[in-house]
């Protein structure tokens, strides 16, 4: 056998414990810029400013206001239509339909995914239906929508459901299937099954995936709504943001078109940075399920 060295010996020692019962937060000082840069709202704000400046500059460079107005012009139009124009009431109309369709879509997605995790035939049904219907554009649903609901809001809700349902179901089901086996077993150990098992174990455990699905569903509900308002019609006095944009387009009021889109963008930012952000902070981040 080869010779080998043992680590050298050094004196042993013993210490009395210092009291550490009231250690507060130990802070290293941060510079102002570090502190500012550490704040998400600030970083977002800077980013939005940068985007607005880029828009303004690019639009000025193009100088084709009929196709691409400047940011300032858009903002002015937005403000005008917000204060004494139809923007608020139009947005409100759209939001109502949207929330209705979104809510119904989520409810249906819940039913579908519960079926899918409860039985093998349910799984097959969900994956088959999703594969079949998800790629179909809204116009494909037109005939059925007309037969079942006629023109108007119910049909709008129907196509919004179509755009929300599959995306949310897909993500939710994929999230369910990724729940770690040990956690599943814990849940079933307590005698949970069926709907309670889904509600109390699977949904919270798959919440990051569900949240991503909710975000995607929300965005696609908007997209669909704006396009579908034109196809499915609105009763002639009311009309949502889709009509607002369509009318402005028809009259070549490009700044107004962009004001409509800006509204969509602002709502998107609000929903993301207030609603979804708050949900995330209270759930997945607090639970340590997502960084």
């Amino acid at each position: 056998m080869a010779t080998h060295a043992a680590p050298g010996l050094r004196p042993e020692y013993e210490r009395q414990l210092t009291d550490a019962s009231d250690v507060g937060e130990v802070q290293r000082p941060l510079s102002l810029s570090e502190r500012l840069w550490g704040s998400t709202p600030f970083r977002r704000f800077v980013m939005l400013i940068v985007l607005a400046v880029v828009w303004e500059c690019y639009a000025r460079f193009l100088s084709n206001p009929l196709l691409f107005p400047t940011f300032s012009e858009t903002l002015a139009t937005f403000w005008r239509d917000l204060v004494d124009g139809p923007l608020i009431s139009r947005t409100f109309t759209s939001l109502q339909v949207l929330v209705l369709g979104y809510g119904a879509g989520l409810a249906l997605a819940a039913v579908f995914t519960t079926l899918a995790v409860s039985s093998r035939i349910g799984t097959d049904l969900l994956s088959t239906l999703t594969a079949m219907f998800n790629p179909l554009p809204a116009i494909a649903l037109l005939p059925l929508a007309l037969i079942w609901f006629g023109l108007g809001i119910p049909s709008l809700v129907f196509v919004i459901i179509h755009s929300v349902l599959w995306a949310v179901s897909l993500n939710t089901h994929s999230g369910f299937r990724s729940v770690p086996e040990t956690l599943r077993m814990s849940g079933r150990n307590y005698g949970l099954s069926g709907i309670r098992y889904v509600m109390l174990i699977l949904i919270p455990a798959a919440f990051p995936a569900i949240l991503a699905g909710l975000k995607i569903g929300w965005a696609f509900a908007w997209r669909t709504l704006i396009a579908a308002e034109l196809v499915f019609g609105v009763s002639s006095r009311s009309g949502g943001l889709g009509w607002y944009i369509f009318e402005a387009r028809a009259e070549l009021l490009t700044a107004q078109v962009f004001a409509g889109l800006l509204t969509v963008i602002l709502i998107g930012l609000f929903v993301e940075s207030v609603i979804f952000r708050a949900i995330e902070a209270r759930t997945v981040q607090r639970w340590g399920m997502q960084r």
């Binding site: 150990n189 005698g191 639970w287």
Partner: protein, 280 residues
């Protein structure tokens, strides 16, 4: 204090070694457990049979990968044997239920979306076994026993490995199930905490005489905690022996009986290894 109580228990148990066995609670006969994946077929245990009587502290001992966890999962109702039968009180085990509370080997058995306290409360509430203030009180006292009262309101991701296991143990014990299934529950605990938990378990058993199936890989722990020890062979797990170990406590570690039993088990477990050593 609990420690003294545990010692007394051991002393009394010594006097009662001649007691007649209680009725059989769990009957496992010729059970083969297999995992099937598209590429592989793994036989975890092969034709295992044993009986667990009521109020047994039944320890399963065997080398890593021999199928201990799998066996426990099958008793828990999470796996169906491909051969043989498992009956609890005469009824075939058909699925999981809160009469058989499990402590899993993995740390991630806590629900990350519930605080420590909520985690302990959860099974009591959903199974309807305990409710309202009663449940809360039980949960708090269970947490106190595992020394985690301070952490009642934090979320599991903020706990260390050992603390997570302690929560899982508190949760299972608070339920007072017919049979408690514990898969290496104390493996992640330091010597002191581990000893306290062992005494806690025995103390609780003294009060309630529940049945417990306990997987461990420490021979000492097996003898201390168990009243009956099932020794399994290496993969695939088969029954090698079943031994009695009533009447040992922390005080009797130096007792010659303890040493003798320990040596016997040791030999069962290490026999292959010893053979190799002799040969080499």
């Amino acid at each position: 204090m609990l420690m003294t109580e545990a010692r007394t228990h051991q002393a009394e148990a010594f006097q009662r070694v001649d007691a007649t066995p209680l009725p059989v609670l769990l009957q496992v006969q010729g059970v083969t457990l297999q995992y099937k994946t598209p590429q592989h077929l793994v036989t975890a245990t092969y034709r295992v049979d044993f009986d667990v009587h009521e109020a047994d502290r039944f320890v399963i001992l065997g080398p890593s990968g021999c199928g201990k966890s799998t066996l426990l999962k099958a008793v828990g109702g999470f796996m169906n044997p491909v051969e043989g039968s498992m009956r609890i009180r005469g009824r075939e085990i058909s699925g999981p239920g809160p009469d058989r509370m499990m402590v899993f080997q993995e740390f991630e058995q806590l629900m990350p979306w519930k605080t420590v306290l909520q985690n302990v409360l959860f099974p009591m509430k959903v199974s309807g076994r305990f409710k309202g203030a009663d449940a809360r009180e039980r949960a708090l006292s269970a947490l106190a026993k595992v020394n985690l009262s301070k952490f009642a309101d934090v979320y599991p991701h903020m706990l260390s490995g050992g603390m997570k296991m302690r929560v899982a143990i508190a949760r299972a014990m608070a339920m007072e199930p017919d049979i408690l299934l514990m898969d290496e529950p104390f493996a992640a605990l330091d010597a002191l905490t581990r000893r306290k938990m062992q005494e806690e378990l025995l103390g609780l058993w003294d009060q309630l005489h529940f049945t417990v199936m306990f997987v461990t890989h420490s021979i000492e722990e097996a003898i201390l905690v168990g009243s009956r020890i099932l020794v399994l062979s290496p993969h695939p797990g088969r029954v090698r022996a079943e031994l009695n170990s009533t009447g040992f406590g922390h005080g009797s570690v130096d007792h010659p009986d303890f040493g003798r039993l320990s040596k016997r088990i040791h030999d069962f477990l290490f026999e292959d290894e010893l053979a190799v050593e002799v040969r080499s």
